[in-house]
Amino acid sequence: MLNSSLLQLGAALRARKISSVELTQLYLDRIATLNPELNAYITVNPDMSLAQARTADERITQGDASPLAGIPIAQKDIFCAQGWRTTCGSRMLHNFVSPYDAHVVSQFNSAGAVNLGKTNMDEFAMGSSNETSHFGAVKNPWNRDAVPGGSSGGTAAAVAARLCAAATGTDTGGSIRQPAALCGISGLKPTYGVVSRYGMIAFASSLDQAGPMARSAEDMALLLNAMAGFDERDSTSLQREKEDYARELNKPLNGLRIGLPREFFATGLSADVAQAVDAAITEYKKLGASVVDISLPNSRLSVPVYYVLAPAEASSNLSRFDGVRYGYRAPEYGDLADMYEKSRSQGFGAEVKRRIMIGTYVLSHGYYDAYYLQAQKIRRLIAQDFTEAFQQCDVIMGPTSPTTAFNLGEKGDDPVQMYLSDIYTIAVNLAGLPGMSIPCGFGNNNMPVGLQIIGNYFDEARMLNVAHRYQLATDWHVRTPSGI
């Protein structure tokens, strides 16, 4: 059961080979055994999950044929779920029990899926290693000394360790793709505006996007079908026709043009990752694709631009956490200003405070034009590079991360080193394009390598097709960590 695809699980549930309660219990037992070490979940609530599973079993008995009915899915702890503690990895929300459901959560609920629990993450999604979580670091199931990546590190570890059938993530600068790569699973960040962010705790609103994380492209197509769609409660949600993201999965890849950006294969890329990515490109050629040399000259600016825009927007979004209406309030304080300062200083961790400081500074009087506005202008240049590139190719490929998973504590106290681990993913968020990572081999120390696939706007169905054909021809995505 643990290695069955979502389609197979759905079929087994509808054929009554297994009930949703049994399947949910199976995962809950695994979580009880493995989570104390991996720390992939912040919150599990067996009573609530099993109650949902019983309802799903009734639906299935009554003939409900929803593909996700009865399937246990974990939610990144950034998504509000009614009655569930929703912490966003922060002490600030350590006691926050959400009074409402995020759009993504209600979509899964109406599809009959079971919420298996809330996965660990970098605090407020700010991090690339999951080490900034107030609830402790997550361990990579492939090597317990290594990080799972971040910020959706708990989700990536949970999927890799078979602690859920599939799960959700969010991606502001690479937070779905980088942990997917480091944990050897598949992850997709859709086009900005495709999945509603209602009830998804905001980090950088012009970049944040939710997406599926799973064991295969086929599973992700099914999940995205449930997650995507217009929602008037998110002002950036795009009004588009509903589409079936699985519709092109099996299309042959003959004639596919793959763009390889020079900049993604230059200095900074470690040799083991380069080798695995090159081998994947060779496999694509066997599948009928051709490669095109392209250039994204402004992508080198994506890290600096991101570290202006994201902190600026975060400093504004996080101003709502003041200890008044919900969340953490300092136990002792004097006047109102003192209450704000103490609650925020004690409630936020070091990385979050750092980014609030950067953001407050770049938005402060006299600096707006030099930083925020300049970054928004360069953002357009970065996006234009992609527009030009897509005139010559159908998808763009390269590494997801410059290295395989690094060790816990390795990047230590230097935030800049940590920021550079998202060097290949950030430009995609700035352009608002869809991006994906799928497993494509193993590097040094037998750690997974991710292949990044970038598509044109709204081209998710084709990207899933491109990933699925590769997964039919290779078996990297079905490998499991030892002991799992």
């Binding site: 570290y307 400081m357 500074y361 953002r379 357009r380």
Partner: protein
């Protein structure tokens, strides 16, 4: 541009973050490194380039001006740090 320790303290105040002298000094060193990374941006000629805030260049949707949410005060205040008689309590602001 170089970030001073005084800038750091001022920004902390604006962001409502309490900081000890030691914390401010540590933050100063780290922020200086980060701004070193960001400075690369300043050399780029962006004259005539329009700033980009949404990939699809969509504008904000308008909706009819009518009440869509009912009163859920009790539900929301159940998770508040301190409430009394339906009001959120904070330290006294006006003498």
């Amino acid at each position: 541009m170089s970030l001073t320790l005084e800038d750091v303290k001022k920004v902390a105040r604006l962001a409502r973050l309490a900081m000890t002298e030691q914390e401010a000094q540590a933050a100063h060193a780290q922020l200086a490194n980060i701004f070193g990374l960001i400075e690369e941006m300043q050399a780029v000629d962006t004259s005539g380039i329009a700033p980009m805030s949404h990939a699809q260049d969509v504008t904000q949707r308008l909706r009819e001006d009518k009440v869509t949410e009912g009163n859920q005060r009790e539900k929301f205040q159940a998770i508040a740090p301190q409430v009394q008689a339906g009001l959120y309590l904070v330290p006294q602001v006006i003498e």
